[in-house]
């Protein structure tokens, strides 16, 4: 990987971290609110289904995870196993795509009401 790409990956991880800081806070506070109010799963789904706001929020959340996690994993693999290079880059790219796919499947399920 070129140094330019490495720098851009670092930038992407920084930006995705900022997005995640906000998303995780909103997500946790919403969960705590929902649980303390005694909402059932069906009631929560009733509020999220068809709500474009939650669809956009969790889409951003999932995409930020899909960007952030593989870049961090790439560094962890390199520093703990000394494995670096194209093979590791491909592996974490696949993990990123999988995270995005599974995450979006859940988001669509929560929005549309299908099996998540």
């Amino acid at each position: 990987m070129s140094r330019r790409s490495e720098v851009l990956l670092w930038g992407a991880q920084r930006v995705s971290a900022m997005v995640l800081a906000l998303c995780v806070a909103v997500h946790l506070l919403t969960m705590i609110y929902a649980v303390r109010s005694g909402l059932s799963a069906a009631e929560i789904l009733g509020r999220t289904q068809g709500n474009v706001g939650w669809l956009l929020f969790y889409t951003v959340f999932v995409l930020a995870v899909a960007v952030h996690a593989p870049i961090g994993l790439r560094t962890i693999i390199g520093e703990t196993t000394n494995a670096r290079g194209r093979g590791v880059d491909m592996l974490v790219a696949v993990i990123g795509i999988a995270l995005a796919a599974w995450g979006m499947r859940a988001v669509i399920g929560v929005f549309g009401g299908g099996a998540a």
Binding site: R3, E6, V7
Partner: protein, 237 residues
């Protein structure tokens, strides 16, 4: 007379600790202890020092697990139960006993383009740099490095990534990036970019915690990260 229990690393990468007893003295430094052992107990002990007053940066060792300059580290400050364990610096090959091979440390300064590159000749007037300028203040914060290798020894990222340039080399690059007289900015930013450069730093702050000159390589590296990203996005590198 009160004595200090001293354990000193003997050997190269392979080896072990040897025990010595050294008389305690007032205001005794760790370097005094090592010197006593070499002169009175075992003349084959290898260690490195020169100025003894915190200027040359050659006497750094690992004392009770912490990288320190030994000439200005008092035994009173570091002894635990009247015991001191002295080992060579981490992250560098050991030549013998307490002497490390510093080549990779200084080679990385060269890789980080740590040499000033100017355009003026001796026939031109001195450059005028205001001490109050933003750039000069940044240089001021990082310029007093004595090249002792303590930060390099304390850095876990160096341990995990042997290609990582390390805090001292990056700190040097940062001072030159801010030198308005220097003409190699673009090449230097490219040299310190990426996985083996400033972006590998995890901001653990070990270097800043241990620097005997109270510099903050971490702050300089953070500045480099931003400068390199900006240069990458603008197409400069």
């Amino acid at each position: 007379m009160e004595t200090l229990q001293v354990r000193i690393w003997r050997g190269t990468e392979e080896g072990g600790f040897q025990d010595f007893e050294v008389p305690r003295q007032e205001s005794q430094t760790v370097l005094d202890v090592v010197t006593y052992v070499q002169r009175k107990c075992d003349p084959t002990l290898a260690y490195r020092f020169a100025c003894r007053v915190g200027v040359c940066g050659s006497c750094a060792m690992t004392v009770n697990g912490v990288s320190r300059w030994t000439c200005r580290t008092h035994v009173d400050k570091v002894a635990e139960d009247n015991r001191v364990e002295i080992a060579p610096l981490r992250n560098l090959p050991v030549i013998k006993d307490l002497v490390t091979d510093m080549r990779e440390f200084f080679d990385k300064w060269a890789k980080a383009r740590g040499r000033f590159t100017g355009s003026a000749t001796r026939k031109e007037a001195f450059a005028k740099v205001s001490p109050e300028s933003k750039e000069r203040k940044r240089i001021e914060a990082g310029i007093e490095c004595i090249g002792c290798g303590v930060c390099y020894s304390a850095c876990d990222v160096v341990t995990w990534n042997k290609d990582y340039l390390g805090p001292a080399a990056l700190n040097r690059a940062w001072t030159l990036i801010n030198d308005v007289r220097d003409t190699a900015r673009t090449e230097r930013l490219a040299a310190v970019a990426g996985d083996a450069g400033c972006h590998a730093c995890h901001t653990h702050l070990n270097c800043t915690e241990r620097c005997p000159k109270s510099l903050s390589p971490t702050a300089g590296i953070a500045g480099l990260k931003r400068a390199v990203l900006a240069a990458t996005l603008s197409g400069e590198i």
